[in-house]
Structures are given as C-alpha cells and as structure tokens.
C-alpha cells in the first residue's frame, strides 16, 4: 500500500509539472505585442497566478505525503498505549431528533475510559429530556447532562470544558458522528507535551446531490490536503468544529472559546498556536457531518466561515507581519489569509483574464486548453488525496466541475463576505437547516 502512495505522488507531481509547463507555453503563445499594456499586465498576472497555483498544489501534496509517512510509518496508531481518560463535550441546541442516536453512537467508541457530557444550550424542544433519560453509567463510560441558558456554541463548549472531569476534552457538534477508532487514534499524539490539540478528519455523510458530493470532494481535496500539510508542520490553523481534541489545562490557560468571532474553532486554534503550542492533524480520527444540501444554505455557511476567519486573523494582525514563534506558525497564518482573501480573487480574475486575453488576441481556442490543463490538475489532486484517504473513487469525476462551478460559486460569496467584513456589516449566527440524515 505504501509504495503505491509514493508512485501516485510522483505521478501526480510529474503530471502537475507537465501541465504547468504546458500552461506557461500557452500563456507565452498569446501574441500580446501590439495589443496594449492591459493585455501585457494580464498575461503577467496570469503567470503569477500559475506559479502560485502550482507551488500551492505541489507543496501541499509533498508536505501531506511527509505527514502520511510520519504518522503511518514512524508512529503507527495501532502501537499507541497512551490512553488517558477523556471527556467528550456535546453541545446541543434543539437537537431533539438526533441527540439520542448521537449519544448512543458515542457509547460505541473503542476507548477504555471516557465520559459523555451533553451541554444543552437552552433548547426549546425535548433535547434535555431525551438526554436526561440516558444519564448514568455504561461500564467505564458515564453520560452526564448539563443545561444552561442559550448563549451559543462557544459558551456551551466553555461550560463543558469547565465541568469536564478529565484532563483531555473532545469537542464536537451535536449532529456529528464519530467512528469507533476516532478517540484512540487521536489521543496518541498527546504523548508529546507540546501538542495542545488534535484536529480530526471531517467527512460529509449526506452525499445525496451535486452540491453535497462536491463538498465531500472539497473536504478531502481542499480542506484535508491543506490540513495534512499543516499537520506535518504541527501548525494546523483550523481545528474543525465537528471534531477537535484538546488538553483541558491548556484550554483553561488560553481562556477557552471566545464568542466574539463567527469561527470560534479557528479563533481557538490561533490562540493555541500563538501561545506556542503544537496543533496536529489525525486523519484516522474521523467525524461525519451533515453538509448543507441547498445552495443558499451552503453560501450561508461559507459566508460565516469567511467572516469568522477574517475576524480571528484581525485579532492577531501583529502575527501576520513577522514570525514570532517560528516560521511554521507564521506560514500557517499567512496561508489562512491567502486562502480567505487572495486566492478567491485570484481564482476568478485569473480565469477571466486568461479568457478575455485569449479572445482579445484572437486565440480563443486557448481557453479550451487552459481549462483542460486546470481540470487535469484538479483531477490529479483529487485522485491523489482520495487514494491517500482510501475514500470513494466515485468522487474523482466531480473534480471536472470542481473549479469552474463549485469553487467559482463559493469564491464569489467569499469575496462579498470579505468586503462586508471590512465594511463592518452586521451579521447573525442563525442555525443551518439540517436534513437529519445522520
């Protein structure tokens, strides 16, 4: 299995370099002389876009592969004996329909000792009653319920952290589902005292239509590829809301979750990194989550993510200027800023500039080649990351639609969200509509 990954990586790198060379050749063939300075600037911008695109892909793939070698060969999960007791915190707000099955699934974890602490965040339905009926001991596992006034997810998690009985806490969403091996594989990283948190691997469970399948691909190719690379540097910049495991004393030290941003998970991660701790990624610590099934719900989610990430970054502007605790954290923060603002703009403008430039120069057919090469890059990256996670190969064809349909649509919302954040437009949390498929 492992040599195959290496072969896939080298094939992927070779394909990407060839594609990059072909794209550079295409750009150089556009006869911009005599078409004015605008086209010249456009072609120059395209070359910059191309270089960034290729460097991004190659560096993420290479660092991701190094992470894979490190976690599977150097430190295999099955050999870990580090299994201290853990408190699993489940924040719940009006989760009556799913909370029972959520607690039941947590009782099936392959881990020796843990407690499940459900924090009812002022639900107005029967959530608390349903959990109360489950309270008690199940072998070495305890189920507890805490109820509080509604204050949002961050305050619910802070309540859970304060009332946790163990030195490690797993924070998740009320509608997430963990696999039996999730806790065991994640906890092994804490034998290193510098590791404050482990980011788990989030997967889309409801792959029922085009948008959710594209999101399933995005979680693997887009989010996890970056998280894996950051994991090798021990500087993961967003511990996902559906699955994050923390040292409780470190959370107390940094003050837990703040409620002043719309991305409390990203904000807490940056607090840990800027306090000098390591944050790692464990791809076997899987949490299934329900992705938005409708376009407007998807845009609502991405709007909140983008503004929340920007709010978290703006709280730490000084860290963006110069590295304070090493290049890895600095690079991770810059990458966050780049992905939130610069990349969406570059992606849309780059494609438009190439198309318009090619049309203006009378070589419209180049648009086809440009699209084919970009799609080749995306399909290669999708195949590589899906193979690495041993995921559903049926998602690979969706890479054809990934950039020009899915990413373009998301990037437009990211651009608007960025503008509104800097204009200070008011926003509210709201609650995403779930189909209840978990």
């Amino acid at each position: 299995m492992r040599p195959r990954y290496l072969v896939v990586l080298f094939i992927g790198v070779a394909v990407m370099l060839l594609a990059a060379a072909a794209m550079a050749y295409l750009i150089s063939r556009i006869p911009f002389r005599g078409h004015g300075v605008v086209l010249f600037i456009g072609v120059t911008l395209l070359l910059v876009f191309l270089v960034i695109l290729i460097v991004r892909y190659l560096s993420l793939m290479w660092l991701g592969y190094l992470h894979h070698i490190e976690t599977r060969l150097v430190d295999p999960p099955e050999e870990s004996r580090f299994q201290p007791p853990v408190t699993i915190i489940v924040p719940a707000f009006n989760e009556e329909a799913v909370i029972e099955s959520a607690v039941q699934s947590l009782l099936e974890l392959d881990y020796p000792a843990y407690e499940i602490l459900v924090v009812d965040d002022g639900s107005t339905d029967g959530t608390a009653a349903r959990v109360a009926a489950l309270e008690g001991r199940y072998g070495d596992v305890a189920v507890r319920l805490v109820t509080k006034e509604n204050g949002g997810k961050a305050t619910a998690l802070n309540t859970g952290i304060a009332l946790a009985r163990h030195g490690f806490v797993l924070c998740m969403d009320g509608d997430s589902r963990l696999t039996p091996a999730t806790l065991r594989t994640a906890m092994r990283h804490f034998h290193d005292p510098r590791v404050a948190a482990v980011a788990g691997n989030v997967k889309v469970v409801n792959r029922v239509n085009l948008w959710t399948r594209l999101q399933a691909l995005e979680y693997i190719e887009g989010l996890n590829m970056a998280r894996r690379a950051q994991g090798f540097l021990r500087a993961v910049n967003i511990i996902p809301g559906p699955i994050g495991i923390f040292r409780r004393d470190v959370l107390a030290q940094v003050g837990g979750y703040d409620a002043d941003t719309f991305a409390e998970d990203a904000d807490l991660t940056l607090k840990l990194l800027t306090a000098g701790y390591h944050v790692v990624f464990e791809d076997q610590a899987i949490a299934y989550t329900e992705a938005p099934e409708h376009l407007l719900d998807l845009l609502k989610q991405r709007y909140r993510w983008t503004r929340g990430i920007l709010q978290s970054l703006m709280k730490r502007k000084a860290w963006l200027v110069l590295p304070k605790h090493g290049a890895a954290i600095w690079a991770s923060l810059l990458f966050m800023l780049f992905e939130a603002i610069l990349w969406p703009a570059a992606n849309i403008l780059g494609n438009l500039v190439f198309a318009v430039g090619a049309l203006q120069a009378g070589v419209a057919a180049y648009v086809l080649y440009w699209w084919l090469l970009l799609t080749l890059l995306d399909v290669t990256a999708a195949a590589y990351t899906i193979a690495m996670e041993e995921e559903d190969l049926g998602l690979v064809p969706y890479a054809v639609l990934y950039r020009y349909l899915f990413i373009a649509t998301i990037d437009v919302t990211k651009l608007f969200a960025t503008i509104e954040e800097f204009l200070g437009v008011r926003m509210t949390w709201g609650k995403l509509e779930r189909a209840g498929r978990i």
Partner: protein, 72 residues
C-alpha cells in the same frame, strides 16, 4: 455542417468561457438571494433574543495577546 478542428476548439472555448461567466453571475445572484432570505427571516422581539447575536466588532487589546506562555 462539418466543423474543422480549429472551429470546434473555438466553439468549445466559447462554451467554457460563457459557462464560467454565467456561473459567476449566477453565484452573485445566489448570494443576493441568500442575503434577501436572511433579511426576510423573522427577527426576535427586542429584549428576547433567541440566538447569539453579534453586535460589535472586536478590537484587540493594546497590550497584545497575553494568551499564556508557551510550553518549555
């Protein structure tokens, strides 16, 4: 009508270009629809907030993070 390879390439290129522009326009329209939907959503009465509202922008403290010392 038979298309030669060059005109076929041009045709496909135009389809890709138009599709991309239409996608961007539809994405902007969808964003507008999302904002309209949020605006039309019933708001809670004053003093009875049923959700966590975000009222103020965060301004970092002047003395830096103070988030604790890094581990040894």
């Amino acid at each position: 009508m038979q298309l030669n390879s060059l005109s076929l390439n041009t045709l496909l290129s135009i389809i890709i270009l138009v599709s991309f522009i239409v996608t961007v326009v539809l994405a902007a329209a969808s964003y507008t629809a999302y904002k309209l939907r949020e605006r039309r959503r019933p708001r809670p009465p004053a003093g009875a907030e049923s959700e966590n509202l975000y009222f103020e922008r965060y301004f970092p403290p002047s003395q830096g993070e103070g988030a604790g010392a890094p581990p040894a």
